[in-house]
Homo-oligomer: 430 residues x 2
């Protein structure tokens, strides 16, 4: 981890540069996969499972028996933890619902706005080394609360063709019964085009490797929406002497263990704070099972000493971190000044892990600077808002002339005529 | 306009197929424009103005004098109409604000969610035959209400290098003072990369021709967000014998005059209704100044006779029209069954024009089937929602064990450790 001292704006921009994502080479691999799935459906999914996951899949859909078995396999303590997390996530996401808006804007002109669930959604849950059942909670709960009609999960099977029981248990717990044994770009393709076993969906959610990310981007060209553009995960911790160095170190490391491309940034008020944190990191790192990954992630990472609070705030807003942990004396003021961040963790006893798993907020957040223009996943992500209007005879008499003048000035006479013909009718009716 | 009778699902899907958009050829023209603007800034904008708009631009930014002059040039009646529209749009969009969410999810674990304005937004207002000052209202008003720090408008100048006074007047009225004389892909490029005169923005809004659309898509690869994917405008009118045929005809024509690629669909309960509407359309068409455009748009268009209401509803939801006008006896039930549409106009006295200009709803809506997974522009489009959390010592003691178990089961030990280290500290503190 490199340390830089009170950098100027151009220095920090350079030091905090995110890695450039090369997508062309990946697209070349992913495009033919997408095409094959669109043409051959389930057959292609099975072929790619054999080719990439080295497993023969007979039935793509997880059976009821597999779900029942999973229930028994889960450690009761884990079950209980998942239930606590579910409850918190449900509470916080249910509270995000927006009531219908009904407004008589002027006499006889009523405008409305209503949240309507996106009908069919697909949730991608990565496989790999860890079973990400927490992502099942984070995507499945708001999809359910929104009232999406069809919810499908795609997740890669292990070498025996099984899905991890924690994933099956969690999906079952929140009432998702369509789980497909398919991973990678082929899973995204299946949800984009639909196959015999996999429904075509309107929106695809979920994290994944660079192939999954590329496939999601390609899906957007086929009329499918996605949750947000993806990039490697990142955390920025802003700490002063009120921060407990061992906590800061633990938080930075918890981000670093995600992957070798994770970015971890410490912004500290002084050299003293920085040194303490770095020393703690070195010690804690040695005891981590994933220390090789974490070490490599730390190579992309930087500690910035920023003496002035206002400069630190400017740097944070410019970087727009996915996760932002604020451990400073003046926390209320600093929090109020942050305009670009995915999710903010305040104070010494608020580790990022809490939000990653169980406090109630969503962990699917904008990375790679997208916190400037995107929100994290929330209940909103699973609905679209439809507007409505109803105008009475009195209403069109009142509003009509305004519309006629505006349409005429935009040289759109048929637009004007749609009003004029109604006003004429009402005049003649009298 | 072709008529089809009680089509089966496969027939209607074929008949209502939207035109395929060819983007590769356009991208080839737009990419070098983007590159040149990113390298040469203002100089490139002036060069392209000369090349494409045939005008020499000395100063890209509209001056205060030009705005003052525009105020005087506007017909007082148009001024008044714009003021009425502004008031309605402001009312309806202001009511869309969501209050901050603060929730103690469990004792000592407080989660929050707050709307924060996107800092820098760019609004593209097309030039061409008509001065679209209504779009200035539809984008500028919510940008202002959201509290975006920097709002810039790009719009192409006329042959004399001027911007239409109605656009300047409207922008001034809502307090937008940065207006750039630049149109086409080069304007989108300028807002994507920033130039000497044009700020780099976080999100770009607004309609445009296929070059503008292509440039917006390319901008998304440079970290900029856009309002939504674009396609030709469209309306679907669902009418039975309670609909007034001349009104339905006028509404269909007002969509058809937009452009030759507009799509106009009539779904009628009977042949009788269809015939009456088509006859009215023929008569009204002859009097329209833009009848040549409208005629060509009608070639892409279709009347579908659907005897059964439930089939009509299914067809509408499958097509997911940008604008949906419902003029049927059973309107409450039908409206309640619609799950895919951009904006819905209910009853005989609610023309689409009302929402296009002045009733209060936004006219920037998802076309091309994107109403299945996107909302129209609203106040939401100009904010992102940031989540926050603050956990007390008591809170982490309560929630911590849940996080530890979940993290351990996802094999993320550093995540677990970020909690354990805090719990240990608290235990030792006692």
């Amino acid at each position: 981890m490199k340390t830089i001292y009170n950098p100027t704006r151009s220095e920090w921009t350079k030091a905090l540069q995110r890695p450039i994502q090369k997508t062309k080479a990946i697209d070349k691999i992913v495009k033919p996969i997408m095409r094959k799935v669109s043409r051959m459906g389930d057959k292609a999914l099975k072929k790619f499972a054999l080719e990439y996951d080295h497993v023969t899949i007979k039935t793509l859909l997880v059976s009821n028996e597999e779900v029942l078995k999973a229930r028994e396999q889960i450690d009761p303590k884990l079950k209980e933890a998942i239930l606590v997390a579910k409850e918190n996530i449900e509470k916080f996401h249910a509270a995000q619902a927006q009531p219908d808006l009904v407004m008589e804007v002027m006499e006889g002109v009523t405008c409305m706005r209503k949240s309507v669930p996106i009908q069919r959604v697909g949730l991608y849950i990565p496989g790999g080394t860890a079973p990400l059942f927490s992502t099942v909670l984070m995507l499945g709960i708001p999809a359910n609360l929104a009232g999406c009609e069809e919810i499908v999960i795609c997740t890669p099977p292990d070498k025996e063709g099984n899905i991890h029981p924690a994933i099956l248990f969690t999906a079952d717990l929140i009432g998702i019964d369509k789980i497909v044994k398919a991973g990678g770009a082929q899973a995204i393709a299946a949800m984009t085009f639909g196959t015999e076993s996999v429904p075509k969906v309107d929106k695809i959610f979920g994290p994944g490797n660079q192939y999954v990310t590329a496939a999601k981007q390609l899906a957007t060209k086929k009329g499918v929406a996605i949750d947000m553009p993806a990039g490697p995960s990142e955390v920025l911790v802003y700490a002063d002497s009120s921060a407990i160095p061992s906590f800061v170190a633990a938080d930075l490391l918890s981000q670093a263990e995600h992957g070798v491309d994770s970015q971890v940034i410490l912004v500290a008020s002084s050299e003293k704070v920085t040194k303490k944190v770095l020393k703690e990191m070195e010690e804690q790192l040695e005891n981590l099972p994933r220390k090789d990954i974490a070490k490599r992630a730390l190579d992309n990472s930087v500690a910035v000493i920023m003496g002035k609070e206002e400069n630190a705030i400017e740097l944070i807003n410019d970087y727009a971190p996915e996760h932002l942990i604020i451990c400073v004396e003046n926390e209320d003021f600093v929090v109020s000044q942050i305009v670009n961040a995915g999710s903010i963790f305040i104070g010494n006893f608020t580790p990022e892990s809490a939000g990653d798993y169980a406090s109630g907020t969503n962990h699917t957040l904008p990375t790679y600077g997208y916190a400037k223009n995107y929100s994290g996943v929330s209940l909103d992500s699973f609905v679209k808002k439809i507007t409505y209007q109803k105008i009475t005879e009195k209403g069109i008499k009142k509003l009509g002339p305004t519309v006629e003048i505006m349409a005429a000035n935009e040289l759109l006479d048929a637009h004007k005529n749609a009003v004029s013909i109604r006003l004429k009718y009402l005049k003649e009716k009298k």
